[in-house]
Symmetry: C2
Subunit: 142 residues, 2 copies
């Protein structure tokens, strides 16, 4: 059980840009520093820009920076923007459920609750908390 | 974020055989009833038999049944037998982590804790609880 690579990379991206704020970086620079493919990165940047977590400026002097207001956003919210679904077991997504026990089984509510305690935990930390706790970037990124 | 299909199907299998106990069923019967491929099912049956959750008898009058002692096993334990890993984010599995922040980032301990609260929840229900709560099988399985 794991989050998608899109979510994993989105977290790396906001931590990186959060620590560098107010500096911006180009897609090429970020891809190089975080060792993520440009294509994959572009999709994540677009998504997080639409969510107003990032500011993106196109053109010659363009680049991507963290939106300073995003420091108060929780890890749960960031994950919510990038994770396609949280159907821990199939029956949490009724439309795509093939289980013959759907509607008859107490595991549906049980896993709904397990998902809720997981997400509740992710609400207890903000991006700002992580940036403050990390305090230093790895030497290779300074 | 979701459990693997192996885990999802393993849960269906133990609920099915748990409700039918002490009856046994052949792989062909189970595959037909639960609409799971035989190949996939065989692997899960082998794993759960090794874990002593199932009893498997080979041969002409063979079949698979729940081990009556398995009613006290928790959902966390069943999931632990079938889920290949719980690296919610890559840094929870140091050997396969590509993140440049590994060792510098507080999200590692944060997601370790998120995983722990999730698994702790899965410890609060046993297979026996689920069988009791479900009380009836879907009509097609009776």
């Amino acid at each position: 059980m794991h989050l998608t690579s899109q979510t994993d990379y989105a977290l790396r991206l906001v931590i990186y840009l959060g620590a560098l704020s107010p500096q911006k970086r180009t897609i090429a620079q970020i891809a190089d520093q975080l060792q993520i493919s440009r294509t994959h990165l572009m999709k994540i940047v677009n998504r997080l820009t639409n969510a107003q977590i990032l500011h993106s400026v196109r053109g010659k002097n363009g680049g991507v920076a963290i939106n300073p207001n995003a420091y108060s956003i929780t890890i749960a919210e960031i994950v919510g923007y990038t994770e396609p679904n949280f159907a821990i077991v199939e029956c949490l997504n009724k439309e795509e459920c093939s289980c013959v026990f759907a509607g008859y089984c107490s595991l549906t509510s049980f896993f709904t609750d397990a998902k809720a305690v997981f997400i509740e935990h992710l609400r207890t930390k903000t991006l700002g908390d992580v940036i403050k706790e990390n305090s230093v970037l790895p030497p290779s990124l300074n």
